[in-house]
Symmetry: C2
Subunit: 262 residues, 2 copies
């Protein structure tokens, strides 16, 4: 499981302030804390309040790159912002994200190839959020087709079914779990799968409990990667246990500690 | 989800002592506590130390029946002990359990019909514990065939795939989860499914964490019933949340409290 830490995001007040004041220490300690808690990669987003993402994202990328060589997940809906982030990055990169819109795929797939970046493809397009499994699979198939045509390695593609909040779209959650399993059936070699975990509990009361329960199900459905809060210890304990149960790590009595000492 | 409380079992010291001293209060308060925590039914077992299960099981059944009318799950490997329990029971009953051995099925299926009891059928026979999914399905098919031949209603049959401890048979756990889903594909009308949850963490260190993580996966695989400790609040919170995510209960912010007030 590729664990992508979600905490360097301008939608959080501490990061927004640090970004505004160019306070490197706040950003860098947030990066190091997440790595210490088990993050394999770090999402980097200026957030919606940034007025200068073309300058802010590369600054974040450089600042984080000074303290860790973990892959950075460049998070923006604007391809031009992604391009500036890629130029600035010394770390390996993951583009987060392209939609299934052809015009976006035709910009981001070549960019990903040029920078040897992995790419997250979200099962959504300009027509809106899919409402069922068939629509999600159709959008994923379009991303896979474009990736194949442009010679992009499918192993470097992470398909995202779009997780909806349980309090908004409760009847879609089972579909989303099944989509994670079925994304693999429609590609060869397999594309990988990723989710933005926290979406499931947006606006809900018991957020951590809902997050870890849904993550357990997603792992059982074959999930390869999740963007999540690695500082949520109960969530990480659950994730490590889910992978243990599915025989991805060898059992020992102190398997939680063993995983953390990897 | 039919939640069967596991705590009235002579393998626990307090129950063994109460059984020996015919202390009704201990047994009855254990029954009422489990019901208060959400148990829909109660497993009743004399445990391995009982020298007189033919007398002890009926006594437990009568004592519990004085304080609750919840279904009782008569737990013994000896058909004669089950028969005595059935005779004593005023509550609805579930026989726990038959194996896939023909001679046992031919005793317990007629007994279940006679007493209008439900029946747990374990995917095991005198040859030993199955080692993979195909063996489990074969054993379940034999139980289903015998039930069909004897006119036993398949809706009243609970198939148990046998959960193995993760520290003993880690490579079998995914198979067991898939078996839960596939048991339903081999019967029409569907047989139900049940697990003895605590087996998964037998001898392990983080028992509650392993139990609730496995239970989440089993619920996503379509599990209908589990024998578990309803006094484990984190386990029950997780179970309620798993069912919420799968749209079995309507979302509200205080869904945990709402479920408990049913």
């Amino acid at each position: 499981m590729l664990i992508i830490g979600e905490l360097i995001n301008g939608m959080y007040a501490n990061i927004a302030l640090a970004l505004k004041e160019r306070d490197k220490k706040v950003i860098q300690s947030c990066a190091l804390e997440q790595v210490a808690c088990g993050a394999d990669a770090l999402d980097i987003s200026c957030g919606p309040a940034s007025k200068n993402p073309l300058i802010d994202l590369p600054w974040l990328v450089e600042v984080v790159g000074e303290v860790t060589d973990k892959p950075l997940c460049l998070d923006s809906s604007k391809p031009q912002v992604i391009a500036e982030g890629l130029k600035a990055a010394k770390n390996p990169t993951i583009i987060n994200s392209t939609t299934a819109d052809i015009e976006k795929l035709q910009i981001l797939l070549p960019l990903a190839k040029q920078y040897k970046s992995k790419l997250i493809g979200i099962a959504i397009d300009s027509k809106g959020i899919p409402q069922n499994k068939d629509q999600r699979l159709e959008l994923a198939a379009r991303i896979l087709e474009q990736a194949g045509q442009s010679g992009f390695a499918l192993e470097d593609l992470y398909l995202d079914p779009i997780v909806m909040p349980v309090n908004v779209a409760q009847n879609q959650i089972r579909d989303i779990l099944e989509t994670i399993a079925e994304f693999k059936m429609i590609s060869s070699p397999h594309g990988k799968t990723v989710i933005g975990l926290s979406n499931i509990s947006q606006g809900a009361k018991n957020r951590s409990l809902i997050n870890r329960t849904f993550l357990t199900m997603a792992v059982a459905s074959g999930l390869d990667s999740a963007i999540l809060d690695p500082k949520d210890k109960e969530l990480m304990d659950t994730l490590i246990t889910a992978e243990l149960i599915l025989n991805k790590n060898i059992y020992c009595d102190s398997y939680l500690e063993a995983y953390r000492k990897r």
